[in-house]
Symmetry: C2
Subunit: 109 residues, 2 copies
DNA sequence: TTCATGCGTTCAACAAATGAACACAAAATA
DNA sequence: TATTTTGTGTTCATTTGTTGAACGCATGAA
């Protein structure tokens, strides 16, 4: 399942390091290789990321994942969406902590 | 899967309203009836909650879920554990929001 | 008696995630 | 050159977690 969390993180990681492998991506995302492949391919299929084969400094064939122009746009959108979601979570969490703290104080007195 | 979140919420809901049905519990927990039954039974099997059959004011047979003495102890423990977990989440979330906010500011300038 | 309601319980079906296994290409080694 | 090793993306059977319709049962209502 491809959520904004993974959209955001994949865009960010790929932009920072286009030569990242799917295995390393999986490790950094904290998810399995299979899911990483699924999410990444979804972004590729939508034309937001493209795959380049290129020769690196050692003349070795390597993969590079690059954000397309629409991918760059989408990264900005997703980042804002994800941030807003996190800020909402933050407020809810703050309230929940206050509520539980009050329960704890109340129960122990 | 029975996590501290549901342990905490079930203890709290059952203590506040022992006559709650599993369907109402499910609704308040925001999970399915099957999962509610699974979690509640786990707490019953551990001797933390006991089931009473009793006659209510209309002489109708009804169920009541009551925290046992060890259940009351465990509720206090779980509440503290859950609160600590939420406070850790809170700090992580705060940091994450700061990081993303900075990215957004940086990218748009 | 018969029907309707509401209870806990079950479990087939679904959804999501995993990671071992695979085909392939390049590099390293014999 | 030929062979083995390494590292890539890809696949998919398996596992894990969740759902909610369906069931048996007990009570109240008709």
């Amino acid at each position: 399942m491809l959520t904004d969390e993974y959209r955001y993180k994949i865009f960010k990681l790929v932009e920072a390091n286009p030569e990242v492998s799917q295995r390393e991506l999986a490790r950094k995302l904290g998810i399995s290789l299979g899911k990483t492949n699924f999410c990444l391919k979804a972004l590729i299929d939508k034309g937001l990321i493209k795959v380049n084969n290129f020769r690196n400094s050692n003349n070795k064939l390597a993969y590079a994942y690059k954000l397309t122009p629409s991918g760059i746009d989408e990264k900005a959108n997703v980042t804002i969406r994800f941030l807003k979601k996190k800020m909402k979570e933050y407020e809810l969490l703050k309230q929940e902590i206050e509520n539980i703290s009050q329960e704890v104080r109340h129960d122990s007195h």
